[in-house]
Symmetry: C2
Subunit: 356 residues, 2 copies
């Protein structure tokens, strides 16, 4: 093993939201300083050494930021290509460009996954109304139309119940390049948080079971009620994806559980909301694991010593934080956001339900 | 319960070392901003919103600092009285002055503990050589002479094996007001980390067993091998101390285990090195617990879901951090200090040895 990045070095983080904030604290625990790049409000900057407040098209600001960092990571995948060009000229970026470019675009992502022989929803590109008939032949109905880029938390999606509804669904995406996905009848959604180090080793946490409300993750629970065989399959799928991408860092892999087995829903090349439970259930949480991976430390082995239910605090839920804190085994994480807008992730709690 | 301090409020922390740093991160997890007051280097400032770098006798700087904070806490007990005067004029301080004044002075502390009916080492003040004979009558020999104030990690202490050695031992303390303490023959040292909320409720963690090397804490392990009766006694003693002081916050209570029962060694009115294991063993660690207490949140119940050994990384030990990180269940905490001086606490690891 080569030596890890020296303590006192500076890690740059693109994005100043809650994921950046928790990454910054994990980096501090390993002795690093963090510098946040974020055009808007930056709760992450409150726990970081420095903050560059500039838009992602301010290439001068990006250049200065990169020059001040020993390595760079990010909390979100939609970083524009010209920004990546500037950053990577002076400073290593983990996970790398290939991971970003694969996950930024749903069509590229699904094509990559299918190329690995992994099961995904059926899919087809839809650029214009002329593609609708062919696409629906591939996916059948019901289907979901999604913008290829910049969708999150259910945004940029439209459901298509029958071919007659397709033109309206496409129109609702406002001309953005899109993809049609076949509807997957699944019994559960799980996710695997996995990491790959600079040395190529992979470690994964136990799969967690996710429940969504209004298109936003509501809870993740570990352990899942799944048979061991499926849990192992899930971890192996994640491992295969990381290795194929020569990936460095933590990745979230969302999977559907169906009667035919596991189907990969999507991948996120970053720490993931469904991995927050690791803060209460593992010696090394996903944030420390990510910093370990990108800074050249040995990875934690992912062992879980507690059963945990993670619950997101969305919008006004934050008013419940103190009452939740009064319950046994509840760990509170608030994100320091100024305004509790509806649908906004304001914090989460991890409820330890017992030893593993 | 009244509402906790609102998210977004600012907590001032006196002292910018590792305890301040971990307090600042815990405060951030509860949605607060932190402002550090520290004359020297301040690793805590790297994870805080603001930092006032000024000496503790700069009353103007203290005044401005206090005015910018919604409440103030501290990572060390030796805060000068004039500083406390200035701070408390505008801003609530937790734990309060009485706790500080009791623990700043070993004679006051021991007198307070004895007044509660708790067992302590025998003790007597020694201000000048004229007090030696009387003091040694109270303590017998061997005894330990300690400065009444400003001692830590074994500094400001001298061992007295027989009456003849007493004058030299006193002289080594260089005229500082001192206390003679009788030698306690103990089998183990344990500590209880306990918290008391603004509402008067007390919560305590399982006692940890401490091992020192060269006067500095080396490891803390939970659970201890002590019988349940002694563990319960330890927690009750801590609870009595906190309640007698009308204390708000986390306190570390060090106890000796002797054939005659538990003897209180000393109290620290702050988060404590021997409580770092809670970061890996409890849903709510001692840092979050302290912030909960001072900011008016309900306390965590102190339940432990894992067995943990905490090991300090002193001086060059930091070079072992990456190798330790490769072991299963090891969580690394480095303090971001620039220089690994001998005897300096550079970090710690928490090793999860199994579910509780």
């Amino acid at each position: 093993m080569t030596d890890p990045l020296a303590p006192g070095a500076t890690i740059g983080i693109l994005g100043g939201g809650q994921l950046g904030r928790m990454l910054a604290m994990a980096a501090a625990r390993l002795g690093y300083r963090c510098h946040i790049f974020e055009p808007g409000a930056a709760p992450a900057a409150d726990v970081s050494h420095g903050w560059t407040q500039a838009p992602y098209d301010d290439l001068d600001a990006l250049r200065r930021f990169a020059q001040g960092c020993d390595l760079i990571t990010f909390e979100f995948e939609n970083i524009p290509a010209p920004a990546l060009d500037v950053l990577s000229r002076t400073t290593p970026l983990f996970p790398d460009r290939r991971a970003l470019e694969t996950s930024q675009d749903r069509l590229v992502e699904k094509t990559f996954l299918a190329g690995l022989g992994l099961a995904t929803a059926s899919f087809a590109p839809i650029d214009t109304a002329a593609d609708l008939a062919t696409a629906l032949t591939a996916t059948g109905t019901p289907a979901i139309f999604k913008t290829r880029r910049f969708g999150y938390d259910g945004k940029g999606q439209a459901r298509v119940m029958d071919p007659e509804g397709a033109p309206a669904a496409l129109a609702s995406l406002k001309g953005a390049p899109a993809i049609a996905e076949g509807f997957v009848r699944f019994s559960r959604e799980i996710s695997v948080i996995a990491a790959r180090g600079r040395d190529g080793r992979v470690a994964a946490y136990d799969p967690g079971e996710n429940v969504h409300q209004d298109g936003i993750l509501a809870t993740t629970s570990v352990p899942t009620a799944l048979p061991l065989k499926l849990r192992t399959d899930a971890v192996l799928i994640a491992s295969r994806i990381l290795t194929a991408l020569d990936y460095v860092g933590v990745m979230g892999v969302e999977l559907f559980v169906t009667p035919e087995g596991l189907i990969v829903n999507e991948i996120a090349p970053r720490v993931h909301n469904s991995g927050h439970w690791t803060q209460a259930g593992c010696a090394v949480d996903q944030f420390e694991q990510h910093i370990r991976a990108i800074a050249g430390w040995p990875l934690g082995n992912g062992a879980r010593h507690a059963n945990v239910v993670m619950e997101n605090l969305i919008g006004d839920d934050i008013a419940r934080a103190a009452a939740l804190a009064a319950e046994p085994g509840v760990q509170v994480h608030l994100y320091g956001k100024a305004e509790a807008r509806s649908g906004r992730k304001m914090g989460h709690v991890n409820r330890v339900t017992g030893p593993a």
